[in-house]
Symmetry: D2
Subunit: 346 residues, 4 copies
């Protein structure tokens, strides 16, 4: 009953995270690793510079790295490709009949591609029906959001019921979000870099699609207006977001906490393997959440929220935090694939 | 023509910064150092644990530390006292006829105490006339703002002409703002702490007083509404603020840049010794300002602004940065005293 | 079959680590938490400022904190007390009949107190027989070494067979080794502090006792001469040591690697609950071990060694690394207690 | 009387440091900037990504970047080229008659190339006479040591009089020593990397040449044996070295301190513009030197030593520290050129 999976971009930082998270997965078994030409043919151990604390499992370490072409890859392929090559390669795989569950940004805003957070918009998988016709693909592509967008979107999803209208957000993002080698230490030691290329646009547009409604086979973006400033800080893992929100119908504070902690979705209903018991935890200590203490909750799949209080300008302000390479990347894609399996789409 | 000055709280982090900045000052000469009882009588070198890169001048190192009582202190005294004791001690000095130029928060919001940034509200010194009657003091107290408030207020001051109405701000603050020993390394290495005790209230209230108008001998707070979230990051020096602003009469972007870079005040007109040639510099690189590169501009007295662009929710958003222990503490107080000297108040 | 245990100094950094490591322990159940007077009577949750990523278990969080007096404490008590008070309190507990398994330095060099690393000198437990008479205690005290000493001693223990004669060591130690609040961030961000109070003496003396032979009921210190320089670096967890060693009978390089990786002791023989499968791992990558990647191996109980190569002055040089609050503190004490249980001493 | 100079590798990290240090130099004026082909023709401002706190002077910012060929370069050229290209390019310049004062490692160990620290071995400039014949160059090459070697060699130079025989050293090196982008933040945040490619060999061989004696036109390497372990730590600037030394004739401790603090050389005798008043400062505080506090002494040209005490294995141990991109790179080369000017070699 095990499903063979492949990983595109297996030697990079997110590729390594996929391998670490899939070790011992009850459904998925890594059978194929694809990467750029210069790694081709090498055993994975020699093709990558492994940077995660958990060692590589021996059987994965010995897998030969394949070229990034469909050929002999399994039907289900996770993609951790760089955006510079993901568009073409993922398209070729979809055309050849593969199901691509991608962390790359290239197809996220395509109207027939689900931009999925299983607890938030599982119904967006219905876009896949139109995708084949629109694209002429035998296979399909499903994407997860940008790493800081996931954190924000999960914290906002339970609040849609109150008529979410405005969101002002400043992010403090971890260096692992930039991949490897990513941010030079020269730039970030004891420093803040108040700019991340393309990140603010992603937050401002992806969030609206994620929170949007499926109507007649299309996603209507959520009407919320979002303004983002994004910064990089000297943190290894965990994106922190400072948020102010305005509602059409502002509820009392307790209703918001209730909405956050009682929030759940299909991953929880079906006990999907990577689903946290609660997607969102609310921390009542006044100085939480913090990346070092909270990013790893529930295997890095839970978003932590704290400091909810009235905002003098909007209705409420709060801090949210999530693990950017797990809930914000590899773990997000794996949960997407688990939901697709549950839905009989694999 | 040299004016003898004293320093209250001379052994702490801000006290050390006062001593470093006053070394070689053209007008002021350190003649008296006051600290808590346990340091009394020791030469300064032995009473403090000096933590600044520049060594202590020998003559200061040998000065005996005095108790924090008015007795033999010079008329002009800078205060770097902890808030826990500053209220009582500064009051006693003022009562005894001293001019206290304080970095402590205790008297900042007192209606007869100037909360001064010389480029922004030099006219608030007029409050001093009423202070004597109101307090029954022979001396006077003048204060500078909280370290993150200075950065925000300086960036906003040139924008008052456009009818400043709303300010949403998230701060990323350096550890030196918490004094010494301050933030444990256990808490901040690779981390973000999304809470600083009392800091948000200070930003939300002090800024309105600083930007307010003097009318009939009183300060009318500026009508702007401010909402702040404050965080601590692993930076040594330099508070970064992420700001969105709404105006009654939003100007074109270029008018804002012009207002920022052409901003100046009495310190520049009179070439006060600690005045930067320009209080605000606008950086056009898309990833600036940054604490490591920009906090020290013009001896740490210049605020750097960058990334000015339209905000989808308010009118504009931008990043500002300033040196928290210089422009945000000791340097601020010294510039206050220089302005007072220029005004014949010493 | 569960054994109730107490923790002295339960609210501090090492006390928290004890609680985290004992959660779900198969033999030991936390039944009693002792701390200083100001915490007395409070539920543990309110008495401590919990700083570990793993949350406190609910039943521990509700335990009332007791005064640090023997009274109602269980027979087996772990001690994480500060050295300033540990001498007196641990002595009082031992006198009252308790078994104190202590991380504090106070009794480590006492000739009748075992300074124990179960893989290295399990036979030193025999000192306990003399301890009762020498001290007049009904109970006993067993200690584990200083956190950097553990790392060095474990790496050296398998090399005793080659006639260990000289050890030159420079340490690069994590901030968590200084407890909480410990090292101010002001001092360590982007910095190195080349001094740790008392640390070099501990390494130079404790190691000789640990590696020493039990003869006629006493420990003869090992004749090796050790010279240590200790530094603090901006690392959260994991002490790195740079070592050069000279032997009486220098073996070929491979014999050393073999000695390291095949090293094991009674914890491995008896599969003690906290025993790593291998106490020492040798990493062949040329840039390992590293604190972030390797300190947590096998739950933080394994010491990692790498870069073994010829030394132009002594025989060999290498790098070793261990987790200072687990193998170097709380985990060390728990393994000591497990060995004592195995030996029927509890 | 101003001497025009060029800078090869002007756009890199060390190239930028050359430009910052030469701003306002009393003798040298930057007239030519050379870099790789892709920068050719651009104004310097656009060809580099300036990363130093001090802004680029306007006249330098406008200088067009030239190809790295001799053509129109001034006679005196500083080289900050990467080792991968420095061998060929520096050779071509020397052949064409230029004086190359290089920070690159390629020619350091060439028997006719001075490996110069002006305070230590100014007489090694005499090698230049043989260089022309040996190499067939019209011009000449002079080099400065590797950044960690400078710190060690300067601390050892005053101790040669005691018969320096053995040196065991462990380094803790700043990230700026690896240039830009250099060390990925992913690798070094909260971490130690116990390996720097080629660094230990450089320390073990370069130091012997630097401390060697000029005899009959050749340098006899100093007979000292050195063993080095090198590590990278999360420090921006400043290499710390932990050293143990053995002497043929060990002096009393005070004689060593005297030798260090009274050490001076031709740069001090002739008051060369970049010469610190004292090349070595001894700090008596028990926790110094530290990179953040001490690396910048005297403009970064002074080496700080502290913690001198007896070593149980050798004679003494101590800590030394120097600024790796100033005294260890660009500042070193500039001081070399100043000495050559003083000697009439320019």
């Amino acid at each position: 009953m095990t499903i063979d999976v492949g990983i595109l971009g297996a030697t990079g930082a997110v590729g390594q995270q996929f391998i670490a998270l899939l070790a011992g997965h009850p459904w998925f078994r890594i059978a194929w690793l694809g990467a750029s030409q210069r790694s081709e043919g090498k055993p994975y151990r020699d093709a990558t510079s492994w940077r995660l604390p958990a060692p590589i499992a021996d059987d994965i370490a010995r897998l030969p790295v394949r070229p990034a072409t469909p050929a002999d890859a399994p039907r289900l392929v996770f993609s951790a490709l760089d955006a510079g090559v993901a568009g073409e390669i993922e398209g070729a795989f979809a055309e050849a009949g593969h199901l691509i569950v991608s962390n790359s940004r290239n197809y996220r805003m395509d109207p027939t591609v689900p931009l999925l957070i299983p607890e938030v918009n599982a119904d967006h998988l219905a876009l896949l029906r139109a995708q084949g016709n629109a694209r002429g693909w035998k296979g399909r592509i499903v994407t997860n959001p940008n790493c800081s967008t996931v954190v924000l979107s999960m914290a906002l999803a339970p609040l849609r019921q109150f008529g979410l209208s405005k969101v002002m957000v400043t992010t403090l993002q971890a260096v692992s979000g930039a991949g490897y080698p990513g941010v030079p230490s020269w730039d970030i030691l004891g420093n803040v870099i108040p700019f991340i290329e393309g990140e603010e646009e992603k937050i401002e547009t992806e969030t609206k699609k994620i929170l949007g409604c499926l109507r007649e086979g299309r996603v209507d973006p959520h009407p919320v207006t979002i303004s983002a400033q994004t910064t990089r800080v000297a943190v290894q893992n965990g994106h922190t977001v400072s948020v102010s929100v305005a509602f059409d119908n502002p509820p009392p504070r307790e209703a918001i906490v209730d909405a956050l902690v009682s929030f759940k979705g299909r991953p929880q209903d079906h006990h999907l393997p990577s689903a946290p018991s609660r997607p969102i935890v609310y921390l009542s200590e006044r100085n939480r959440p913090q990346p070092v203490l909270d990013a790893g909750r529930d295997g890095g799949m839970t978003v932590s929220v704290g400091r909810l209080r009235a905002c003098p300008l909007f209705d409420y302000k709060f801090i949210a935090l999530g693990h950017n390479t797990i809930r914000g990347a590899a773990g997000a894609a794996i949960l997407n694939a688990e939901l697709m399996h549950q839905d009989g789409l694999l």
